[in-house]
Amino acid sequence: MNIDDLKDTWKNDQPKGDNLNSKSAFCKKSGSPLSRIRRNMKSEFIAVLVSYACLIMLLFYGNQSAHYLNLANPVVNASIIVIFILFILNGFYFGRFFAFYRSFSQYDLNLKDSIRKITYELELNIEIYKTYNFCVTPLAVLVTFMLLCGTNGMHYVQKVLSTNTFESPLNLLIIFAVIIISFAVTYICINHHLRTQYGKYVAELKEIADDLGNEG
C-alpha cells in the first residue's frame, strides 16, 4: 500500500447514515481545559455566594447566635472586617475572571497562533487562580477560626497582642509559624490541585507550540 494511492479511497470515505447529531452539540458542555476551568470557577463562585449568605446569617442573626457560639463583640466585629476584606478580594478576582472569559474564544486562527493563545490563556488563568486562592484561603481560615474558637480564641490573641514582644517573643513566633504553615499548606494544595487537573494539558500544548515554533 501507499498513502498517495489511498487518496481516492479517502475521498470516498464519507459518513454513512445520520450519525452526526449536530443539534445535541448545542446542549453539550465543552470539554476543553479552558471551559473546564470556567465551569469550576462558576461552581466556586456559587459556593462563595452560599458561604457568604451563611456567614451573614450567622453574624446578623443577632445576639442569639453570638450567645450560642460564645462570641464576644470584638470577635463579631473582627469577623465582619475580615469578611468585608474577603468580599472585596472575591469581587475583584471574580470580576477579572468574568471579563477574561467574555473575551475568550477565537478558534479560527492558524494552528500555531491558536495553540499559543490557548496555552497562554490557560497559564494566565492558572496563575490568577493561584493568586486568588493564595489571598483568600488564609483569610477564610482565619474567619472560620475566629467563629469556631469564639471568645476563647480571642482571649489568646488578646494575650499575644498585649505581651511585650521583646521580653517574651515566643507567642508572636508561634503566630508567625501558624501563618507561614497556613500559607504553605494553601500553596501546596493549590499547586497539587492545578498540576493534577491541568498540568498535563499545559505540558502537551507547550510541546505542540514548541514543535511548531521551532521551525516556523
Binding site: 459518513p15 465543552s30 479560527d108 495553540i115 502537551e204 505542540i208
Partner: protein, 169 residues
C-alpha cells in the same frame, strides 16, 4: 430554531465528512470520537460569527476543527486496551467497508494513531490535497517546512505500517 442556527446546521451537514475524518484521525476510541465530534460542532458554533465567507466554509471548518482536535483531551476513564482496527463510527458502517482499498484505509487510520497531533493535522491536509501554501497558512509554518515535514512523515508512516506487517511500496 432561528435562521442563523438553521444555516449553520445545514453547512455542517453539507461538510460533515471533514469532521468525521478529523475525528477518525485524532481519536481511536468510538466514544472519544463522538465527544470530539460534538466538541468540534460546539466550537464551530461559538466561532460561527467570525466566519466572514471570504474563504470557503469547508476551509474555515477544517481550520477550526483541527484547532479543536489538537486542544482536545479525552476524558480520564478506564477502558480496556483495544487493538481493533478503527473502521467506521458504528457497526453499520463497518459492514459496508469491504475490499482491499478499504482495508488499506483502515490500516492507514490505525497507523495514523501513532503520530503526534501536529503530524495528524499534516496527514489530514495532505490527504485532502490542500495546496502546500494553504497547509503552511493553516499550521502557521513555512511552505518549505511543510515539504520537509511531509517527507519525514511519509517515512515515519511507512515504518509504522511495515511494523504492522503490511506491505508498503
Amino acid at each position: 430554531m432561528d435562521t442563523k442556527q438553521a444555516r449553520f446546521l445545514q453547512l455542517i451537514e453539507e461538510n460533515k465528512g471533514i469532521l468525521f475524518k478529523i475525528s477518525k484521525i485524532y481519536q481511536d476510541d468510538p466514544e472519544d470520537r463522538s465527544d470530539l465530534l460534538q466538541e468540534m460542532i460546539l466550537q464551530l458554533w461559538i466561532a460561527f460569527d467570525s466566519y466572514r465567507a471570504e474563504s470557503k466554509f469547508s476551509t474555515w471548518m477544517y481550520r477550526v476543527g483541527l484547532n479543536t482536535a489538537i486542544a482536545f483531551f479525552r476524558k480520564q476513564k478506564r477502558r480496556p486496551d483495544s487493538e481493533k482496527l478503527p473502521f467506521g463510527f458504528d457497526q453499520a458502517e463497518e459492514k459496508t467497508l469491504a475490499g482491499e482499498k478499504e482495508e488499506q484505509l483502515a490500516v492507514f487510520y490505525k497507523a495514523v494513531q501513532h503520530l503526534n497531533k501536529v503530524e495528524k493535522a499534516l496527514v489530514y491536509l495532505y490527504m485532502e490535497d490542500v495546496p502546500y501554501d494553504d497547509i503552511a497558512a493553516s499550521l502557521g509554518i513555512t511552505p518549505i517546512n511543510v515539504r520537509v515535514r511531509l517527507n519525514r512523515l511519509k517515512s515515519k508512516l511507512k515504518e509504522i505500517i511495515k511494523n504492522m506487517n503490511y506491505e508498503y511500496r
